[in-house]
């Protein structure tokens, strides 16, 4: 029954999206004004119904209703509860339902709270949001129904891919989806503003918190995903330039550019057309990325939910939505009047530089992701990996990081770089020392040297905007900027240190013997069998000691899941302030030795710590924006009250 209930809610939600689109579009004309009152309620109810449908799907997964095809294919009665719940979105249909649910909820939330924009623009925005949602509802209902029943009912389910059975990963897809789909709000705002030609500071201020919110989730999602790949895949790497990773990186790059250009638009009423275009691009990248991954056009180590047959449907949706938005942009952007001018050395210029470099990086990643497909179309099969991505993205990112050190110190509109050059002496000196140290420690390796050189300088420079301010009265968005930029320096240091200083060792040791990796002594004390709810494993007891200190235990496992049958290597990590020891247990060799793969990775956790700081910076900025919006809202309410009273 629950399945039918969920399907019913989904149909109703789709119907409401249709209603929202129609009344929203009609209300744009003066004669349709009467429908205007329906637009916001339709958006709210649509979001609520989508949520009901999604909760129904979780319910059938929790009770393991094997008569539902999706449950039978992806779940198993012996699975722990957390993974039963997570199983609801660990597959194609469920994740698409999550997608429309987040879209519906975001639209409903905007309809509830957003009051700053002109009412006509809001109607156009909500109609746009409904238009995009409708396509995904159609996709779900006609091509990916998650509630399809199965007859006869199987005795047991297939289980969930063991690689996905990890507490971190249970929450990874929803986090990323909040980010991807949250950007749909920016997309709809851009469409609404293009339709009504209301592109200005008010538009940027209204859009900014939504972009910030989505961006925070994207940042967290990418950071967590990178860490997951790092410890779960057992390869010791944290970024593989895999299509799935690129699919999450591209919207992040676009959203980061959008955040910065929106602040120029909000503060200075410049970069109008550009900001609107980024609003379109950011969500387009979410859709293109998801499509590339889902359609199976690009093969990926992460391809857990692939079905080429559905590709055509999504491609048609993409062509309509992104193509349509870009046509609208081409027609309307020319009529969006030019914004304010600014001089070459100004805060605006540095933000324009940031935007150009971020867009360049985005283009590089997109090209690299599509390149295998492109060459295949011309009869060659090639793969591109780190030798392409690393130097090419660095080409854009490194100059951007230099400007990141200077830009926040410059004034709006016009400034002299000479004014801030004395401030920058310290970071410049640090950069020189860092580069020299990098050359000495990692000779001949350009990117790690640049990273080690730039990171400390950037860390100091990112704090400079706080100089001379009363820290208690500094506004939250400024803190947010400082923390996020500092996070970039931290993360950069971790990346550079990982690639410059990692020590790796693959050995075969008999039980009782020891080996060394970097400053660590690692002794294989024992191998023991252990069992979990749906797996059995061989577990190594490693006694590890840092520079001859007290030994600690580490327990890497070679796990065998029995539903479905699959072997995975569960790595074990030991984190110190200055790095991480990473251990993987391999096969038993013929002579009773055990293969151990060991890495000592100095400062590697800083990569993800930096990522978390970047997200925290976003959160501070968001809190600051929302708080000042609320203050303004209440102040306006008070003025209105007073006027009313005086009027009487």
């Amino acid at each position: 029954m629950i399945a039918e209930f969920g399907l019913g809610a989904l149909w109703f939600a789709a119907a409401l999206a249709l209603l929202q689109l129609i009344v929203g579009a009609l209300a744009l004309k003066p004669q349709g004004e009467g429908f205007a009152a329906l637009v916001r309620p339709a958006a709210v109810v649509q979001g609520a119904l989508a949520l009901v449908s999604f909760l129904a799907l979780i319910a059938v997964f929790v009770e393991t209703d094997l008569s539902v095809k999706l449950v039978a294919l992806n779940s198993h009665s012996a699975k722990p509860l957390l993974y039963k719940v997570a199983g609801a979105w660990g597959n194609h249909e469920g994740s698409m339902l999550l997608w429309v649910t987040v879209m519906g909820l975001a639209g409903g939330f905007v309809a509830l709270v957003e009051r700053r924009l002109p009412e006509r623009t809001m109607r156009a925005t909500l109609a746009g949001q409904a238009f995009v949602s409708l396509g995904f509802y159609a996709f779900l209902l006609f091509a990916s129904n998650p509630f399809t029943r199965l007859s006869p009912v199987p005795v047991e389910g297939n289980g969930l891919n063991p690689l996905l059975q990890d507490p971190g990963l249970a929450f990874h897809p929803p986090t990323l989806y909040l980010g991807y789909v949250g950007l749909s709000i920016a997309f709809s705002f851009a469409i609404g503003a293009l339709i009504t030609r209301e592109v200005g500071p008010a538009f940027a201020r209204a859009m900014r918190p939504w972009v910030l919110g989505a961006w925070i989730f994207l940042t967290l999602g990418i950071t967590a995903g990178s860490y997951w790949a790092y410890y779960e895949l057992g390869w010791g790497g944290w970024w593989f330039w895999d299509p799935v990773e690129n699919a999450s990186l591209m919207p992040w790059l676009a959203a980061t550019a959008l955040l910065h250009s929106a602040s120029v638009l909000a503060a200075r009423n410049a970069l109008r057309a550009w900001t609107v275009m980024l609003g379109v691009i950011a969500f387009s990248m979410s859709m293109i990325g998801t499509f590339l991954v889902r359609s199976g056009i690009l093969t990926s180590v992460h391809a857990f939910a692939v079905d080429p047959k559905r590709g055509t449907f999504i491609l048609a949706l993409l062509a309509i939505y992104i193509g349509g938005a870009l046509v609208l942009f081409g027609i309307r952007a020319a009529t969006v009047t030019e914004g304010e001018r600014f001089s070459v050395s100004s805060r605006e210029s540095s933000l324009v530089f940031n935007n150009v470099m971020l867009t360049g990086t985005l283009a590089i990643v997109l090209l690299g992701t599509l390149y295998p497909l492109l060459t295949e179309a011309f009869g060659e099969k090639v793969s591109v990996g780190p030798p392409y991505f690393n130097p090419m993205t660095a080409l854009f990112v490194m100059p951007m990081l230099v400007v990141l050190a200077i830009g926040p110190l410059l004034r709006w509109r016009r400034d002299r770089v000479g004014r801030v050059s004395r401030l920058l002496l310290v970071p410049a000196a640090l950069a020189a020392v860092g580069l020299a140290a990098g050359v000495a420690l990692a000779p001949g390796r350009v990117l790690p040297i640049l990273g080690l050189g730039l990171a400390p300088a950037l860390a100091v420079a990112s704090l400079l905007p706080l100089r001379g301010r009363n820290l208690r009265r500094t506004r939250l968005p400024v803190w947010g900027m400082v923390v996020a930029h500092f996070g970039i320096a931290v993360s950069l240091f971790g990346m550079a240190s990982d690639s410059a200083f990692t020590v790796e060792k693959l050995v075969a040791v008999p039980v009782g013997e020891a080996t060394e990796v970097g400053p660590w002594q690692v002794r294989l004390a024992a191998i023991e069998p252990v069992a979990g709810p749906n797996w059995t494993a061989l577990e190594a007891d490693l006694q590890v000691a840092y520079k001859g200190g007290e030994p600690t235990s580490l327990h890497p496992q070679a796990r065998t899941f029995w539903a479905p049958v699959q072997n995975t290597a569960e790595s074990a990590l030991l984190t110190r302030w200055n790095g991480q020891l990473y251990a993987v247990l391999g096969e038993e060799a013929q002579d009773g030795r055990w293969q151990l793969r060991l890495w000592w990775k100095p400062f590697v956790p800083m990569i993800w710590f930096g990522g978390a700081l970047i997200a925290l910076g976003g959160l501070l900025a968001l809190l600051g924006r929302v708080a000042s919006d609320l203050r303004r809202y209440f102040a306006r309410g008070k003025i209105a009250d007073r006027r009313e009273r005086q009027g009487r």
Binding site: W235, G236, G237, F240, A273, M277, V280, I281, S284, I288, F291, L292, S295, G296, I297, T299, P308, G311, T312, L315, L318, A319, I322, G323, L326, V327, F329, G330, A333, A334, E338, L370, P372, L373, L374, E376, A377, E380, K381, V382, S383, G385, P386, P387, G444, E504, K505, L506, G586, E587, Q595
Partner: protein, 182 residues
Amino acid sequence: MSETPAKHFRLGLWLPLALFAAIVALVAWGLLHPPSRDIPSRFVGHPLPAFDLPAGSDDRPGLGTADFAGKPRLLNVFASWCIPCAAEAPQLEQLRAAGADIYGVAVRDQKADLAGFLARNGNPYARIGRDDRSVVQLAIGSSGVPETYVIDAQGVIRYQHIGDIRPEDVSLILGKLQEAAQ
């Protein structure tokens, strides 16, 4: 703003659409030509192309087509920057221990990186050629790293294994090697 730059700007406004149309066309082509996960080389059954690669490490000679004469061997396409290549190292070692002669082609690599990779993961290769521009890799129809080929005594490509060699693949590859000897 004067008239001319304004017009240029308008043309620029359609650029995103043009780029997107190109992407759609490309992806639509991709949909019509679905890739199978294993892309067998068109060169299986063909002789190796002529090549002569410089040595990739100081203690192993380089690699040329002539070196394949005499008996069936394995040709492993790898790179130090390729993570699955490190994952398959134990299996290569196992193959070597079982008597297979393994020749390596290191794709787009640096000598120092290679030395580090071999020190970390072991060196099962009898010869290592450096293929700095992927010329040989592409000429034998390899679409990525790692890939492993069985080459018979006449220098003909007999079998191609795509991706890292898992423990369960070892016996299959040894079988293909024996087949190539007959």
